[in-house]
Amino acid sequence: MTIKIVIIIFLGFASGLAVGSGFVAFLTVLGIIPRLTQLSKTMKMIQSYEWAVVIGALTGVLASLRDPNLNLSPYLLIPLGLTGGVYIGMLAAGLSEALNVFPILAKRIRLDGKIMILIMAIVFGKIFGSIFQWLYFVHH
């Protein structure tokens, strides 16, 4: 019995370790935190940003495993949705940037100066896709 519990604890710990380090590695590759510190000029606070990510991830773990119930106002969801959206948006931008799509695209169609217009196409596409999905798509 004890050996089973020890093995389970070990397995749980190992999978948590793998998932956690994978998450951090992913975040590092996409360069979201450096980008945010660069925009806000808060390089000195980088350590507390690390903690924000770690605490956020652990809160997510608690929320998904324990099903807590806070009984708060639904309007609290607006800032949560907004910040969550900004985060996913930066993730998507970081990913498409890491994939090196834009420089090649700009070269191919000789649009070096107006590449922002193309990025706006992607941005509006994302917003449209998201709103369309939640308002219409998932209910049909």
Binding site: G31, I32, R35, Q38, L39, S40, A63, S64, D67, P68, N69, L70, N71, L72, S73, P74, L76, L77, I78, P79, L80, G81, L82, G84, G85, V86, I88, G89, M90, L91, A92, A93, G94, E97, N100, F102, P103, I104, I109, R110, L111, D112, K114, I115, L118, I119, I122, V123, F124, G125, K126, I127, F128, G129, S130, I131, F132, W134, L135, V138
Partner: protein, 206 residues
């Protein structure tokens, strides 16, 4: 007495077709006044039809040209070992239908990718769960979360590319500009090795 001439090749020269490239176009020169103007007027390349649109001028060629003309000059080179001469044809306008097609392609493609992503990570059930955690009620349409989320999504992308706050926050280059620069450097490096006949040599040993 030997005079020293300092030459620094420019990284990139843009010119029109069938022009003559003088040394002063392709390089920065520091030299004694007595030779400077003659040096500047040395012709290092005459562009012809068959040059294509990229020519690489190696510093070795420049040194050879200078030393064949001036016996008592010592050439010191600094910086890049070659100049890329890029022949720009007259600006072609971007065709509007082509542009609109690409714009729509990107627009719809991103919309589709995002919906696939949401489906892939079960975004719907996660959002419903967040709604339940905060309010204690069940809701199959947590629009109060979803609409700000969708707007924030676009905001995050714009923030990442530093589009809106470009001048206001700081003037560091955005990741996109750095990425474009890196891509250009990669292309240049390729051209330097492949367009320059002297930079590769096969010695057959059979």
């Amino acid at each position: 007495m030997e005079k020293t001439v300092y030459i620094r090749m420019r990284n990139r020269v843009q010119t029109r077709a069938k022009e003559t490239i003088y040394l002063k176009d392709a390089a920065q020169i520091i030299a004694d006044d007595s030779v400077l103007s003659k040096l500047q007027q040395i012709i290092i390349h005459k562009l012809t039809e068959k040059d294509g649109n990229i020519v690489v001028i190696d510093v070795m060629k420049v040194i050879q040209l200078i030393s064949s003309r001036f016996r008592d000059v010592e050439v010191q080179t600094i910086g890049p070992a070659q100049t890329i001469i890029e022949i720009v044809s007259k600006e072609k306008g971007v065709s509007v239908p082509f542009f609109l097609l690409i714009w729509f392609l990107l627009f719809f493609g991103s919309a589709l990718t995002l919906m696939n992503f949401h489906d892939d990570v079960s975004m719907k059930s996660v959002q419903e769960k967040i709604y339940t955690i905060i309010t204690g009620k069940r809701e199959t349409k947590p629009l109060l979360f979803q609409i700000p989320y969708s707007i924030g999504l676009g905001l995050g992308m714009i923030l990442f590319f530093n589009h809106v706050f470009k001048k206001r926050i700081n003037d560091e280059p955005s990741p996109l500009e750095v990425e474009m620069f890196n891509y250009q450097m990669d292309l240049d490096n390729y051209v330097i090795v492949n367009e320059n006949k002297e930079s590769m040599k096969r010695v057959h040993d059979d």
